[in-house]
Amino acid sequence: MATIDVARRRAPASLLAASLAVTARRLGEVWAEIRRSPTALVGLGILIFFVAIALFAPLLAHYPPLARVSESCNPICPGSPPSSQFPLGTSSRNADIYSEVIWGTQISLFVGILSAIVASVVGTTVGLISGFAGGWIDEVVMRFNDIVLSIPWLVLMIIVAALIGTIDVAGLILVIGLTGWSLTARVIRAQVLSVKERMFVERARMIGSSNLHLLWRHIFPNAFPLIFANTILTVAVSILSESVLAFLGLSTPDHVSWGKIISEAYENHAILNGNALWIVVPGLCIVVLVFGFYLFGYALDEILNPRLRRR
């Protein structure tokens, strides 16, 4: 009995150090795997490219966000095709489209990543609790999850937008995040169910660890790689959701995003009026960025998920 007590009292410090060391070694292994996987590298390259654009937007953009090139026409301008001064032409708002695309990178990445984090936090919490508690709690939570999954997501987003009220960036992030967690919850729950049965959890329970300790120290760290890979994939979905909402007119009035640029171009018949780039370029940005997140996410999933690695 005495030995167990000693072990438990000494645990926190050494355990923290040990788990840090394990994490560091694991990260090293993962990095080695990433370097060997062409898909992961291409994905990572795309992500770094767009993050760089977002970070250096103030240097790259010719005009500040939402700025008009001149006040010569107000409020609706004919817009102009690409020229040496305006690489992608000007919009009907008389803004430089190239600058809009650059600034749009910031919003698309920001909203995409933050709403994926919201979705992951909610989904992970729900998945952990439901998988770990089991019994009627699991049953109730999963049936609720089924209901959320069975409402078409676009309609669901519109309802949440209505509940939150006026849309600002925080509202947008909440809308996308709170409608995107149900698949994450399922994935995490499945993982928890399998981790829960393993020997070390049983052993920790034997020496009297509390449920909270079990969840936080044993189950969460083992589910974490999966959570991480899943979050990366959720970012891709969130960026798509943001663009769809913006295209349908549910966007913030004081920011430019890629979806909003396309929506504006569509309303002004950009292609018929001879400036196809107005639609093509922001669209390509979405496609390539989402492609990058998918590639990197799937590659990580393959590396981190032992069940997939076997094949």
Binding site: I151, P152, I159, A162, S243, V244, I271, V287, F293
Partner: protein
């Protein structure tokens, strides 16, 4: 979106205030939210879906017409999605690691990450643009209706059916391309999962031809996950249909939804959400019955 629907019906002018007041009372908007909710529940239980604020017609009549067109669009594209997706996915799994697999998976992930509304715009600008195709019968997109409306109201005759089909091509193609990757990628990984099972090795070992192994051993075991996935995918396809309808001016449920949001037409929106939920529940039910036929191990509990 929350707001007073009567404000979008009448100009904001004191002289319309009486009319707006009358309409608020008519719609029951002057009651407390809880009272409104109880009334909504009572009506739902008695299958009374209410009257559209803007159109003044029973919601069910308004949406019955829209639903037919959306079903035509979603139905056509889903059939193509499933057929082509399964073919591409199984061929890719069969030739795993070969050029076809790598190209189709790459294109698949690329399409998977494409916003459907943008895909629609791009197809419209290329295939829908009279400058780029030689056919005189091909309509100019967006067409704004599901058939050439100079033909008069819809009837079952050759000209109308032909016109409807021609108008359907690009919207259905957009939706099918947008959801194709989901099916083909899952089909591929599901088959590859099955291929590594022991019974496949056994089947090969006892000297069956590759064809027999594929058709008798791999397919029957790889299909069940696909069926439940396609049913789950329906939520995604409905979301895609909304975008396609807006881009192509195809006046189905999605187009109506966006208008209903602009008009704050709550009864319409409520019923649209009910339809979406019912569609997905039905799809899951159907997929369960198909699974029952496909997999002899599953029994009704």
């Amino acid at each position: 979106m929350p707001g007073d629907p009567t404000l979008s019906l009448f100009p904001r002018d004191p002289k319309y205030e009486g009319l707006a007041q009358y309409n608020r009372a008519l719609f029951g908007l002057d009651k407390s939210p809880w009272e409104q909710f109880v009334i909504y529940l009572q009506r739902t239980v008695t299958l009374d879906w209410g009257t559209s604020y803007r159109l003044g017609e029973p919601v069910i009549n308004v949406l019955a017409g829209d639903l037919a067109w959306t079903l035509l669009l979603v139905g056509t594209s889903t059939i193509f999605t499933i057929l082509i997706g399964m073919l591409v996915g199984s061929y890719a799994a069969w030739r795993r690691g070969k050029p076809f697999d790598i190209t189709s998976t790459g294109i698949g992930i690329f399409l998977y990450g494409m916003p459907i509304f943008w895909l629609g715009l791009m197809l419209q600008a290329t295939l829908g643009n009279p400058r780029f195709h030689p056919f005189s019968w091909w309509p100019v997109y967006p067409t704004n209706l599901y058939y050439d409306d100079t033909l008069g109201p819809w009837r079952w005759d050759g000209a109308h059916i032909w016109s409807t089909l021609v108008h359907l091509i690009l919207p259905a193609m957009t939706l099918a391309l947008g959801s194709l990757a989901g099916v083909s990628l899952v089909m591929r990984s599901s088959l590859i999962d099955t291929m590594t099972e022991d019974f496949v090795v056994t089947a090969r070992a006892k000297g069956l031809s590759e064809r027999q192994v594929l058709l008798r051993h791999i397919f029957p075991n790889g299909l069940p996950p696909m069926v439940s996935l396609i049913a789950l995918d329906l939520a995604f396809i409905i979301g895609g249909a909304y975008q396609v309808e807006v881009v192509f001016g195809y006046r189905g449920i999605g187009y109506r939804t966006i208008q209903a949001i602009d008009d704050l037409d709550y009864p319409l929106l409520q019923f649209i959400i009910v339809i979406g939920g019912v569609a997905i529940v039905l799809a899951n039910l159907v997929s369960d019955f198909i699974l029952l036929r496909l997999d002899p191990r599953i029994k009704i509990a």
